[in-house]
């Protein structure tokens, strides 16, 4: 256990220090890249709760990523055009305040996760995979057809939204904000893993029959996990849209859902920092290999295949050895 905690602390420290160094060396692009990595890591941590802990293979987690993104896009769009969202039965104005946007993103994602979970968790593994993929596609096509908010072309937000006390336009400050959020969520996730809920959920993943016969309901456990998971990924979506000042239907795409799972597997399934390591490595690869070749996805595919077939524990597994700490 201590080895993994050491590793996790080192990873967190690196995430704090490297961008700081980049900032002071005058490399704002690295800071932006790091911000991208941290936000994607956050999205993947959300998925980890459903997938790593709960064993739910959600191939449609981009749904929540997109919901968060569009929550931001829609609210900020109405704010920047000075038009209200709704006038009847009561007036809802847009907003460019990040805390409000995050709250909306989290609540919406949770509600959608609740209903998708309710429908799809009654079925077994394979159906769940296909259903979540299908719902992702549904939102994707819906966003494309919703011309009021850009449709296929997406929606641009001219100025990044605001957070009290922070100048979000400065890359390192926005990065710090995202980093703090990630750290807070990691702390929560770590506690969750060790909590009674975490124990029960983990057991439900391994032996659902046993969980029933000790008096707990596996489906309810999974539903709660799925909702928590969707909420976190939704928050990441809102941040991502703010990073790019742009939201488009691709945030809902199956490719996005696939990427989230790739982060987790690359980093190490079941490991708390798996999604973080995976996201960072992926963003780095994307940047480095993407420069070298237009077709770098082939290498990604081969790498992924290799990890699945031969190095199932991912990067953390290779560094720390086979067993996932469970205490």
């Amino acid at each position: 256990m201590t080895r993994e905690t050491l590793f996790n602390s080192a990873a967190l420290a690196a995430l704090a220090l490297v961008p700081l160094w980049a900032h002071f060396s005058g490399e704002p692009f690295t800071v932006t890249l790091a911000t991208r990595a941290v936000i994607l890591a956050l999205a993947a941590v959300g998925l980890h709760i459903a997938l790593g802990l709960g064993g739910l293979v959600s191939l449609g987690h981009a749904v929540f990523f997109g919901i968060g993104g569009y929550a931001m896009g829609i609210l900020a769009h109405h704010a920047q055009t000075y038009t209200p969202l709704m006038e009847w039965p009561f007036v809802i104005e847009g907003t460019k305040s990040m805390p409000v946007i995050w709250l909306v993103a989290v609540v919406l994602s949770s509600v959608v996760a609740y209903f998708i979970g309710l429908l799809s968790l009654r079925t077994s593994g394979v159906y769940f995979i296909m259903i979540t993929l299908a719902f992702g596609q549904m939102f994707f096509f819906f966003a494309i057809s919703w011309s009021a908010y850009g449709g296929e072309d997406g929606l641009s937000i001219y100025v990044r939204n605001g957070f009290p006390g922070v100048n979000t336009l400065v890359p390192i400050q926005f990065y710090a904000l995202c980093f703090v959020i990630l750290a807070a969520v990691m702390f929560f996730a770590a506690r969750l893993q060790r909590s009674p809920f975490g124990l029960a959920l983990n057991a439900a993943r391994q032996v659902p029959d046993r969980v029933e016969t000790v008096g707990l309901n596996p489906m309810r456990l999974r539903l709660v996990a799925f909702v928590l998971s969707g909420a976190i990924t939704g928050l990441a979506g809102a941040l991502f849209a703010d990073l790019n000042r742009f939201v488009s239907p691709t945030m809902f795409s199956w490719q996005m859902s696939g990427e989230l799972i790739i982060f987790i597997i690359l980093g190490g399934l079941g490991r708390l920092y798996g999604p973080v390591v995976g996201a960072v490595v992926f963003v780095a690869l994307e940047h480095i290999l993407g420069d070298l070749s237009d077709y770098w996805h082939i290498y990604l595919g081969v790498l992924l295949l290799g990890v699945v077939l031969f190095a199932r524990g991912g990067i953390i597994g290779m560094l720390l050895g086979r067993e996932v700490a469970h205490d």
Binding site: F197, N202, E212, N217
Partner: protein
């Protein structure tokens, strides 16, 4: 007449043309071990599923402590006091022995909706879990990963997890499965004591254990109970010998 702790009344279950359970009425009284024996395919697992939850009988009722539980899902029957062990150990292999026992204690406590405090620091859960582990003799292995336990130790853990619920009745599905002579002897002694804490409905193939332990035996053949009685009565019963025991009984 004292109320049965656990009882089925006339339960039947068909799968298409196959009648897996045919008007089965069995009861379990306090302080006893009631063994269910029968050849493979007799419908023992179908019966267990209808008693413990997961399979609804076509007709008939299942009662626990006098309450009708036929429509209750598995987890609510467990909460009501039904403990169960599986023929193939159903344990979280990646977790430690202690974690598995704590899972049982958590179920008994009834509230998994706590997200923050480390579960292994909850004194109540730890006490219940360790108490159960001590009863089966696994307390020294609390920190061992379940995957590393021997088969016999896993069967012990299986029983321990059921114990943490402090159930009113046990349904045990072939607890002796895979145990050697030494293990079977110890488990037989253990179950002999356990019956006084809560009665046991024991589905078993190991005839030595059954004859040593059972207060009553019911014989299930093709989904039907063909005989119920004491060990001597069943051994002497001609139908039973023809159907199952043969002449060596």
């Amino acid at each position: 007449m004292t109320e049965a702790i656990l009882a089925t009344q006339g339960i039947s279950k068909s799968f298409g043309a196959l009648k897996a359970s045919d008007d089965v009425s069995i009861d379990l009284m306090a302080g006893e071990i009631h063994a269910i024996i029968g050849p493979n395919g007799a419908g023992k697992s179908t019966l267990i599923k209808q008693i413990c939850g997961g399979l609804k009988p076509d007709t008939g009722t299942v009662k626990l402590l006098g309450e009708d539980v036929t429509d209750l899902p598995t987890e609510l029957r467990a909460r009501a006091g039904l403990g169960r062990t599986f023929q193939i150990s159903a344990l979280a292999m990646e977790d430690t022995v202690l974690q598995n026992a704590v899972l049982g204690a958590l179920g008994g406590q009834g509230n998994p909706w706590r997200f923050f405090k480390p579960v292994l620091k909850d004194q109540d859960l730890l006490d219940t879990a360790m108490e159960a582990l001590e009863r089966v003799g696994l307390q020294d292995h609390a920190k061992t990963r379940t995957a590393e336990l021997s088969h016999g130790q896993r069967r012990q853990l299986e029983v321990a997890v059921a114990l943490t619920l402090k159930p009113k009745a046990f349904v045990m599905d072939e607890p002796m499965a895979g145990l050697g002579t030494e293990g079977s002897k110890r488990l037989t002694e253990f179950l002999g004591d356990l019956r006084h804490q809560a009665p046991i409905l024991l589905v078993e193939h190991d005839m030595d254990a059954v004859f040593a332990l059972a207060d009553r035996i019911s014989v299930l053949v093709y989904g039907k109970v063909i005989a119920t009685g004491t060990v001597e009565e069943i051994r002497a019963n001609k139908d039973v010998r023809d159907a199952y025991l043969g002449d060596e009984a």
